[in-house]
Amino acid sequence: MSEDLKKKVKELIVRQLKLEMDPATIADDAPLFGDADGGLGLDSIDALELVLGVEKEFGIKVQDEEVGVKAFASVNALCEFVRGKAA
């Protein structure tokens, strides 16, 4: 998977959620939601912010919560989702 896209997605997450962390420290496969070890511990409010960020950055609309939950599971999942929509 494109490292450029992963970098872009990580920067988007940090910028959109106003996180105080280095985007590079987000693991590609770490869960974005929930309290699992290594995860970011995001919640549904953050998910909506990511939806708005993805729409702005990539021009992709996400309105179905089920799709959103899968797409935002991890950086890898979000990259797959963006690549799938772009294809």
Binding site: S44, I45, L48, L52, V62, Q63, E65, G68
Partner: protein
């Protein structure tokens, strides 16, 4: 046993009703700042209440009822700027437009205006639809 919530009164209810609908979850809501409101008497109208007003306005436009409840609650505030606080007797209007939605989580942009149309507060609120 079914729980039937009592109607909320001021200081919990700020938005009076929908004045105009301009699109899905978009429109204008009226809010009267009453002189006998406890919040106004004691400490003045709190800044945070303006964000709550935008949320209540948004939920009214989403189909809530001003007397019986708004089918949701304020869950987040972002980039909210207050230029001035309203005073008793002010009649405010709130222009609200949807910014994004994911399931029952909805973000709205809102502008609170005074009777002359000047913006006294603006910003975004996120609401969760349904019960807390």
């Amino acid at each position: 046993m079914d729980f039937q919530p009592l109607p909320h009164a001021f200081p919990f209810r700020f938005a009076d009703g929908v004045v105009e609908r301009t699109g899905p979850a978009q429109g204008r809501v009226r809010a009267s700042v009453t002189a006998n409101a406890a919040a106004v008497r004691a400490t003045g109208f709190p800044s945070a209440a303006l964000a709550e007003l935008v949320a209540q306005s948004a939920l009214l436009l989403e189909g809530g009822d001003s007397a019986l409840g708004r089918k949701g609650f304020l869950a987040g505030i972002s980039d909210f700027v207050v230029e001035r606080l309203p005073e008793p007797g002010d009649v405010l209007t709130v222009d609200v437009a949807i910014a994004g939605r994911l399931g029952d989580t909805v973000k709205f942009e809102g502008v609170v205006r005074d009777a002359e149309g000047g913006a006294i507060a603006r910003g975004a609120v996120t609401v969760k639809q349904g019960s807390a």
